[in-house]
């Protein structure tokens, strides 16, 4: 919805709200939920839609006493509403070709308690079944409009995309869309307002591109992740060294992000605050390590371990977005990680020269590293204290067999990931040692060397 629309609507509401109560014929509803099923079958795409009548403007429904809908006379008004407010607000594309206007097969008025839109088959049977008894007393704003639309298509195996612009039905509109491609699978989407054109069965590269963008944006908006990155840059600005460390970070958070997506993370209220606290601790730890001047030869190890923690943090931000992954869950998660990695490299591209200039012209390197790290440690310490306060409101969880089993599963994932990382480092060192005469510095060895060695 554009800003102009929002302002116009707010103005309209303001005008209506100061008018005398009896003149309030029809307010714009605050919350509207639209239910959609889309199912391509042969040469036809069937679309079932349910929209509350309260959101429909400019259509006068025939009424009888007490503003109950006169059901026997309401069919034309329902068809008008279906044309203007459902078919007219939908754009469906088959392989980038916009489908022509649909045929309105059937319209029905339903009671708001009707549950037939729980499944496609029940909804189809309902819309094609008998209408409400003509003497049903239903106040016009409390009814639902159910519609069956049919679009001609070339093949039910085509790629489809939908643009559902129902945002003018209410101040807040949620469109719950279920796409049923041939083969029996069901793909669910929850779209807020006008979500634009959505690929219903995205190709792997379309899903991947969306998630690369998401990952890129996510790292740039995450202050704590950026501060962690800054701490890695302060003592060591050899770009290739840093790429190794950052890659260890990315590999680690890929593991826990995938584990979360597949349901291996604890589903407990205390878990997100615990991860947030551990993220703050990771920043404090690396900042303090910078100050005390600990050897950086094993920094990739601690980066890898903290990367496992940050991965859980990323997963909280992805919860509502995985619906757009289609059948490419793993691809999308890896693409998200790739986006995060790209974002990190961009930040490094800015930070490394900036640090170099800072330490060359403003402050001596060691002193500068201590001052910057102290600032970061100070900020992260506050986060740590605040997040600890949140976490301590949760009592220790009771020890149960199911809880222990879940914890062990998580531990096995962490151990396996760490073992793989260790093995890679061993192989890398061995390769470096074997070819030391003509290739003195393998990437992993460089990652393990102190910056100033």
């Amino acid at each position: 919805m554009t800003g102009v629309h929002v302002r116009l609507r707010a103005l309209l509401i303001a005008v209506l709200s100061v008018a005398p109560a009896p003149a309030l014929a029809h307010d714009i509803p605050r919350d509207v939920t639209v239910l959609l099923f889309a199912r391509p079958e042969g040469q036809i795409l069937r679309l079932l839609a349910r929209v509350p009548l309260k959101g429909i403007m400019d259509v006068e429904f025939p009424r009888r006493e007490r503003d109950y809908v006169d059901i026997p006379r309401a069919d034309q008004a329902l068809r008008d509403a279906a044309t203007a407010w459902i078919a007219g607000k939908l754009e469906i594309r088959e392989a980038d070709r916009r489908l022509p206007a649909p045929r309105i097969v059937s319209v029905r008025m339903s009671l708001e308690s009707d549950a037939s839109f729980g499944s496609y088959d029940a909804a189809l049977a309902h819309v094609m079944g008998p209408a409400l008894p003509p003497d049903t007393t239903i106040f016009w704003e409390q009814g639902l409009l159910d519609v069956l639309l049919e679009y001609p298509i070339q093949s039910d195996g085509s790629r489809f995309a939908i643009h559902a612009a129902f945002d003018r039905l209410g101040l807040s509109v949620l469109t719950a869309l279920r796409f049923l491609p041939p083969g029996g699978s069901v793909r669910a989407f929850e779209l807020r307002g006008d979500a634009g054109l959505i690929e219903l069965d995205p190709r792997w590269h379309q899903a991947a591109l969306r998630f690369v963008r998401l990952g890129f944006g996510h790292i740039l908006e995450g202050a704590d992740h950026l501060l962690f990155l800054l701490c890695l840059v302060i003592p060591s600005r050899r770009v290739r060294t840093l790429v190794g460390i950052v890659t260890a970070f990315t590999a680690a958070h890929s593991v826990t992000l995938l584990a979360s997506a597949y349901g291996y993370a604890p589903d407990a209220l205390w878990f997100p605050p615990l991860i947030e606290l551990l993220i703050a601790i990771s920043i404090v730890y690396v900042a303090v390590e910078n100050i005390v001047g600990t050897s950086l030869s094993r920094r990739w190890v601690i980066t890898f371990l903290f990367g496992l923690v940050h991965g859980f943090g990323f997963s909280f931000g992805l919860e509502h977005t995985l619906q757009f992954a289609g059948s490419h869950l793993v691809t999308s998660l890896l693409a998200f990680n790739a986006g995060v990695e790209l974002g990190q490299l961009l930040v490094l591209a800015v930070l490394v020269p900036a640090m170099g200039l800072l330490f060359r012209f403003v402050v001596a390197e060691r002193m500068g590293a201590i001052i910057l790290s102290a600032f970061v440690a100070h900020a992260a310490w506050h986060w740590m204290a605040e997040r600890f306060e949140v976490l301590r409101q949760f009592p220790w969880p009771a020890v149960t067999a199911a809880g222990l089993a879940s914890g062990i599963r998580l531990l096995m994932i962490v151990i396996t990931a760490s073992a793989v990382a260790w093995w890679v480092s061993v192989v890398g060192r061995r390769a470096g040692a074997d070819g030391s005469a003509d290739r003195p510095h393998s990437a992993l060895r460089r990652a393990g060397r102190p910056a100033d060695s």
Binding site: D31, T137, T400, A405, R430, A433
Partner: protein, 416 residues
């Protein structure tokens, strides 16, 4: 070149890791088996945690009065009815009295969404109907209509509105239970001025709660604070269809002796008859609040069975309101107990109490006169409190769990 000792060390570390993973895998499998065995053997019941942040603060310095009804509609919006200014002390409504800046009674009917935002608000006297002296109970039917009862002195009627507060129907006449010769306008709250009329086909006697059966389009009235019956009317016309008393007997308004837990159960309901809710298998569960019992009937009024709860409870009784769990079979009933300040979790088949939660107090998850209860489609519970409780609370459904405690006390977030 890598030395042999280093290679041996790597092999040893690798073997150690593999062994560790194998041990963990075995331990996890054993624990999974244990957990499954534990869950099969134990009695399980829904577990809840209070949501201390729901609902959001009301606008306009509005406050709730005694809150005496709650229902959840098909959109999972929560509707409450409360008594607003009539139950607020002067120091609670200084804005309304123009003696200070805080606060004023909110409109009687309020609708909240799942996020706790206040949506619609309306209620009070208007043209074409008689607003109750003391509103009581709220129900949103399958057509989206809102029903209100009342337990004030002259309240002997039920009102139906649209969700926007447009008046649709009044069933019964206000003041119908006034004794012959008693003057209107004086001592309206005085029980002595009114008399029960449990066999009246037109009006009622302080209806506590309404439930509309979508299959038959019939409304069940818990009737009530003055009458001693369940009354069933046509939900469109309000025409009386049938009524009955305890055990399906013809109701009798003769006053009963004070409740005695040792005495045989009374053959009539005590006042108030406080709920009458129909289950998915078409059994009607009626709250005999002061009789500390639930009686179960067929929709036609044939008695099926009864069960007693915290039977030694005197005064206002232990069975105030019920809500069904939202699983397809409605396996559980949640009973609001406003004297012992708990929500009892009851097995619907056996009517046996499995566990309970809540305690007296003013913190989230505690109660002061927990009066009404309702469930949403996700299994969450909503309670309202009367007297000085004056609030609505949400309890988040956390799944089925083995019962480890009879009295869970305050179900604070994260507690077990």
């Amino acid at each position: 070149m890598t030395s042999n000792p280093l290679r041996r060390r790597h092999v040893a570390v690798g073997a150690g890791l593999v062994t560790l993973l194998a041990v963990l895998a075995v331990a996890q499998a054993l624990l999974d088996n244990t957990a499954e065995a534990q869950s099969q053997g134990a009695v399980r019941a829904p577990r809840f945690e209070v949501d201390p942040l729901w609902p959001k603060p009301l606008p306009n310095h509005w406050v709730l009065g005694a809150t005496i009804g709650v229902w959840v509609d098909t959109d999972d919006h929560v509707w409450i009815v409360h008594r607003s200014s009539s139950t607020l002390a002067n120091n609670e409504k200084a804005l309304e009295l123009k003696t200070g800046e805080c606060c004023a009674g909110a409109p009687p009917v309020l609708e909240f969404d799942q996020a706790g935002n206040l949506l619609r608000h309306w209620g009070g006297p208007g043209q074409g109907y008689e607003w109750p002296d003391s509103n009581h109970g709220i129900f949103v039917d399958y057509k989206g209509n809102v029903w209100i009862g009342g337990n004030g002195g002259p309240d002997s009627h039920v009102l139906k509105f649209t969700k926007d507060g447009k008046f649709l129907l009044q069933i019964g006449r206000k003041g119908a239970r006034r004794k012959a010769g008693a003057a209107a306008g004086s001592n309206e709250g005085d029980v002595a001025g009114f008399v029960g009329g449990s066999n009246d086909e037109v009006s009622f006697g302080r209806v506590a709660k309404i439930f509309v059966d979508p299959k038959a389009n019939e409304a069940y009235f818990s009737d009530g604070y003055l009458n001693k019956r369940v009354a069933v009317v046509d939900a469109d016309t309000g025409k009386m269809k049938r009524w009955w008393g305890a055990y399906g007997n013809k109701p009798d308004d003769t006053p009963l002796p004070a409740y005695d837990p040792a005495a045989p159960p009374a053959q009539q309901f005590r006042n108030p008859v406080h709920c009458a809710d129909l289950s998915v298998d078409r059994l009607l569960y009626v709250c005999d609040r002061v009789g500390n019992r639930i009686q179960v009937f067929t929709p036609e009024g044939k008695f099926v069975k009864e069960a007693f709860y915290t039977k030694n409870t005197k005064d206002a009784g232990s069975v105030w309101d019920i809500a069904f769990s939202r699983d397809a079979q409605q396996r559980y009933i949640f009973v609001a107990d406003g004297v012992n300040e708990r929500v009892k979790v009851v097995d619907r088949q056996t009517l046996q109490e499995l566990t309970n939660f809540g305690d007296g107090g003013r913190q989230p998850g505690q109660f002061y006169g927990v009066h009404s209860i309702a469930s949403d489609s996700k299994g969450n519970l909503y309670t309202t409190e009367t007297y000085e409780g004056k609030r609505v609370q949400r309890f988040v459904y956390k799944g089925l769990a083995p019962v480890t405690k009879q009295n869970q006390g305050t179900v604070w977030p994260g507690s077990k």
